[in-house]
């Protein structure tokens, strides 16, 4: 099973990367963009999906400053 884990800075925590992107876009001629946040993407093949949450808690995310979201996908070729 292929799984995707989306990790993003917790709401309210300053996200300088998001700010930098938001600042850069208009200069490149892109308008109407707001609320930009930059996080991490982890993709992996896992046999036992029930382990995913523990993996995030323990290693992949830092719950103090990051939220995570687990997306599962159809079995990987």
């Amino acid at each position: 099973m292929r799984a995707r884990i989306l990790i993003r800075p917790k709401a309210g925590i300053l996200d300088p990367q998001g700010i930098a992107v938001e600042r850069a876009l208009p200069a490149l001629g892109f308008s109407g963009v707001a609320n930009v946040h930059v996080g991490r993407l982890v993709e992996l093949d896992v046999e036992d999906v029930s382990q995913l949450d523990a993996m995030c808690q323990k290693l992949l995310a830092n719950p103090l400053v990051e939220d995570y979201e687990i997306l599962e996908q159809s079995t990987h070729a």
Partner: protein, 222 residues
């Protein structure tokens, strides 16, 4: 004579310097991440660098090494532990210190001499300092922005757990200009600046030696 253990991981960079600083005031031994035996040292230094390349998150992978499990034990028993830069990040990830270290607000690595104020002299690594004393010590890091949730931050300030604060603007955007903190029990201290790089005339400042000298006063086997 106090025996320091300096914990080395793959990717650690400032381990030799930390050991050299320890040996200016006591004995030192290098400890290997894969070995859970801390060899009965009196104090532990988790040095700076890029353990496991700082991949995923600074300190996230290193904290799970066998040696770190022993360090957690050692700290729970009240043993003095100092985390420097990457070591600070590792101790936070391991839950031995509060908060987290996020990317510098400028999103760039910074390396320069910094002035930090010692706010509390009642830790094993500051007892040779005066509260309010200024130290000139270099910072060199990419992820040094200290963060703790508002309530926790208040508590840290209230409990006097903010051990070091940058003088003037924090170079990395740390909350309250925090450069270093300790745990509630005050035996575990972490800071982003590198005291081991300010211990000799060669370094242009010897202020950092005070942290190691402080720990050297700790009677063996605390």
């Amino acid at each position: 004579m106090t025996r320091f253990g300096v914990l080395r991981f793959p990717g650690t960079c400032d381990d030799d310097e930390a050991l050299a600083a320890c040996e200016l005031v006591g004995d030192g031994v290098m400890l290997w991440h894969g070995d859970s035996d801390l060899q009965g040292v009196d104090a532990i230094v988790v040095p700076g660098g890029f353990s496991y390349g700082d991949y995923l998150r600074c300190g996230a992978i290193a904290r799970f090494s066998p040696a770190m499990a022993s360090v957690v034990e050692f700290a729970r028993d009240g043993g003095p532990v100092l985390g420097i830069c990457n070591g600070f990040q590792i101790l936070c990830e391991a839950g031995l210190l509060p908060g987290a270290l996020l990317p510098n607000i400028g999103l760039r690595f910074i390396c320069h001499q910094a002035d930090i104020e010692v706010e509390h002299a009642d830790t094993p690594f500051t007892q040779a300092c005066e509260a309010g004393e200024l130290l000139s010590i270099p910072v060199k890091h990419h992820d040094g922005r200290f963060y703790a949730p508002p309530e926790q931050l208040e508590a840290l300030e209230a409990n006097g757990q903010v051990v070091f604060r940058y003088v003037g603007d924090a170079p990395n955007g740390s909350s309250n200009g925090i450069a270093g903190v300790c745990n509630e029990r005050r035996n575990v201290v972490g800071l982003m600046p590198h005291p081991e790089h300010a211990v000799l005339p060669l370094h242009g400042s010897e202020d950092g030696l005070k942290l190691f000298a402080s720990a050297a006063q700790v009677p063996a086997g605390v």
